[in-house]
């Protein structure tokens, strides 16, 4: 049993050294892949749109490290991070963004639909709120099959105002489903402050009571805090005690999407949040915990090299064969609608 597993088995919410290094590495992997995605956009090697999780890495990493290998992830169009942390390859992610054959879905899904079923990453959903009931369904299936798997469903603050959010929360609570709903509240619903369009100050946590759930707010920029909440809510779900709704406060460093420079956000607000960047703050904490700088630098060098190698591999991968457009509508592999 690894240290991390032992710590988990003991229900210890204060991560051990190995877990902390894993959390740091995982956040860094997301950070550097997202930055690379941005660079590749600027080089016009990635088309379409893209919604980066720069600044929000601690939520994906905290949950990703805490989850069991066979748990399920459901996430949104801002889903590169959540797909990567489950173990999907960087080349598969970058290749998909670039529309290459090596992509996770060989170019058929694109940035907003990253999926790696073999890693339990069961889809990135581009219609706001749609995946909350679907995650509840996966949790229902786990409950029915008695596997103690948990579905974790990530969504933005904007999703708390759509009907599917409320339908899914209610069903999950009534059926006591093993699902953890995680609201990544980055304060803006696309271009509009969430507070300006929501009746309560905490868009997710203030709604929890309506479904008989605890109000849980966590600092989404503190990966240790996210990890602790993840361990607690996953254990509750696995024990058959039902769903949780977590609101993680965070901030995106860039705009909503590729098309958005994010000019609507006041400069002092942006500056304040940049000081709370989850990566440098966590690096600082690790140094304070007497983890040698050289050890962190080694991780950083390794992740950088892996992102570079993945980028090169994705660039060298050919575009998918055109015939692929006509496959996989049906389980027989084809798309025939008549005989």
């Amino acid at each position: 049993m690894s240290q991390a597993q032992a710590s988990r088995a003991a229900g210890d919410s204060n991560p051990d050294r190995a877990t902390r290094l894993k959390l740091y590495r995982t956040m860094l992997e997301v950070r550097l892949v997202e930055k690379r995605a941005y660079d590749l956009f600027m080089q016009n090697l990635i088309k379409g749109t893209s919604h980066l999780a720069l600044g929000q890495e601690a939520i994906a990493a905290g949950f990703g490290v805490a989850m069991r290998r066979d748990d399920y992830t459901f996430c949104t169009y801002r889903g590169h991070a959540h797909t990567l942390v489950r173990g999907a390859s960087m080349v598969g992610v970058l290749g998909e963004l670039m529309g290459r054959e090596c992509g996770l879905m060989a170019g058929k899904g694109g940035s907003m639909h990253l999926t790696s079923a073999e890693h339990g990453a069961l889809g990135s959903y581009a219609i706001v709120g749609a995946h909350l009931p679907i995650a509840a369904g996966a949790a229902w299936s786990a409950q029915y099959r008695g596997t103690e798997q948990v579905a974790v469903c990530f969504f933005g603050d904007g999703a708390t105002n759509i009907g599917a959010f409320h339908e899914a929360l209610n069903l999950a609570a009534v059926w006591k489903l093993p699902v953890v709903f995680v609201c990544e509240n980055n304060l803006y619903m696309e271009y509009t402050p969430i507070g300006a369009v929501t009746a309560v100050p905490h868009p997710a946590a203030d709604r929890a009571a309506a479904y008989g759930l605890d109000s849980i707010i966590v600092d989404g920029n503190d990966v240790d805090a996210v990890y602790a909440v993840a361990m607690r809510t996953l254990a509750r779900a696995r024990a058959g005690e039902g769903p949780s709704l977590v609101e993680a406060k965070t901030y995106r460093h860039s705009g909503h999407s590729r098309a958005d420079p994010g000019k609507y956000r006041p400069t002092p607000e942006v500056e304040a949040w940049m000081k709370r960047d989850p990566l440098p703050t966590y690096r600082h904490r690790l140094l304070e915990l007497a983890i040698p700088d050289a050890e962190l630098a080694a991780i950083e060098g390794d992740v950088r090299a892996r992102v570079d190698a993945a980028t090169e591999a994705a660039r060298k991968s050919p575009p998918p064969p055109v015939e692929l457009a006509f496959t996989q509508v049906w389980a027989d592999g084809g798309f025939a609608w008549r005989n």
Partner: protein, 325 residues
């Protein structure tokens, strides 16, 4: 063989598949304790228990979403949407998620979901509980669409739909629930994508679906006895996949095509069949194709108003006879 109602056939079909396969689960509003608002699902809760037969809140997105998530993780759910009109409130999950997931993920996930729903007019329920919406589903790549007209087809096609690895929208016709038919007593499994020739004629081929099938058969009787017109009647049964082989063969045989559709006029399934026939067997046609549909209207409620807009046997006979004038 034994005689069952179309309504009883629904429960029979679900039970047949639940007894065979533990991964088949069933969810919907009022389907368990109450046995369904159309009394189509009585006895299933008692036989298969509350773990497999689950009442839900009035939450169509949660119902279909839960079915989708369960299907992606190894179950074969049957979800009931009480009235097909209510598909509009969960259409995102149906058309954007369930239908496209396999394609978008390049085959990483399989989606064996069946959505059963009560479709169609005849019960004087007005514009929001009477529509024929099978064409909504037919237009979305990735959905299979079935609409049985007899108790035997309900069982056989439902079994085929449950066993199919792709999502199937299963349109039961609410005005057929009380109709009776003979069904075999042992396991019945049909095939999706197969039309059925119910009557062979020589002058005109009538293609009909669901509640329009018995009307087409009645019209064919009157065409023969009163007008000397001999009609073939094809029950289309499956819109996706569409059995164009059977349809085109039967149209070529008579040289004339009439579609009998309950749906409002625009973009009905019949238009697709007419278009295929016009393109592929144009030189076998002896006259213009005719589409008999409900006019492009919402449905009214009063008896005489609803009867006035739906294709009745009288109207079917009259419009067909006119094409022979």
């Amino acid at each position: 063989m034994e005689e069952l109602t179309y309504r009883e056939a629904v429960a029979r079909g679900i039970a047949q598949e639940m007894a065979r396969d533990q991964s088949v689960v069933f969810l919907g509003e009022d389907i368990a304790s109450a046995g369904g608002v159309f009394k189509t699902t009585g006895g299933l809760l008692e036989r298969f228990g509350p773990k497999r037969v689950r009442d839900t809140p009035i939450s169509e997105q949660a119902i279909v979403g839960a079915a989708v998530g369960a299907a992606m993780t190894g179950l074969r759910p049957i979800a009931e949407i009480m009235f097909s009109d209510f598909l509009a409130v969960c259409w995102d999950i149906v058309a954007n998620e369930m239908a496209k997931m396999r394609y978008m993920t390049n085959g990483q996930v399989t989606m064996p979901v069946v959505i059963r729903t009560a479709n169609g007019a005849g019960s004087r329920f007005g514009a929001q509980h009477s529509q024929s919406v099978e064409n909504w589903a037919m237009m979305v790549p990735g959905l299979k669409v079935v609409a049985p007209s007899t108790p035997a087809d309900v069982i056989g096609l439902l079994a085929a739909a449950v066993r199919d690895p792709d999502p199937v929208l299963f349109f039961e016709h609410k005005s057929l629930y009380g109709t009776k038919g003979l069904v075999p007593e042992d396991t019945l499994v049909d095939q999706l994508g197969k039309a059925k020739v119910l009557r062979q004629g020589s002058d005109v081929t009538l293609a009909a679906l669901a509640a329009m099938v018995p009307r087409a058969l009645a019209a064919a009787e009157r065409l023969a006895s009163e007008h000397g017109v001999s009609a073939t009647v094809v029950d289309v049964r499956s819109l996706v996949p569409l059995d164009t082989a059977t349809l085109l063969r039967e149209i070529q045989h008579t040289g004339r095509l009439v579609t009998i559709e309950e749906n409002p006029r625009l973009c009905g399934w019949g238009a697709e069949i007419v278009s295929i026939a016009a393109h592929e067997i144009f030189y076998s046609l002896d006259g213009p194709a005719l589409r008999i549909t409900t006019p492009h209207l919402p449905l009214p409620s009063a008896d005489n108003l609803e009867d006035a807009v739906l294709p009745t046997v009288d109207r079917i006979v009259k419009e067909i006879v006119e094409t022979f004038d």
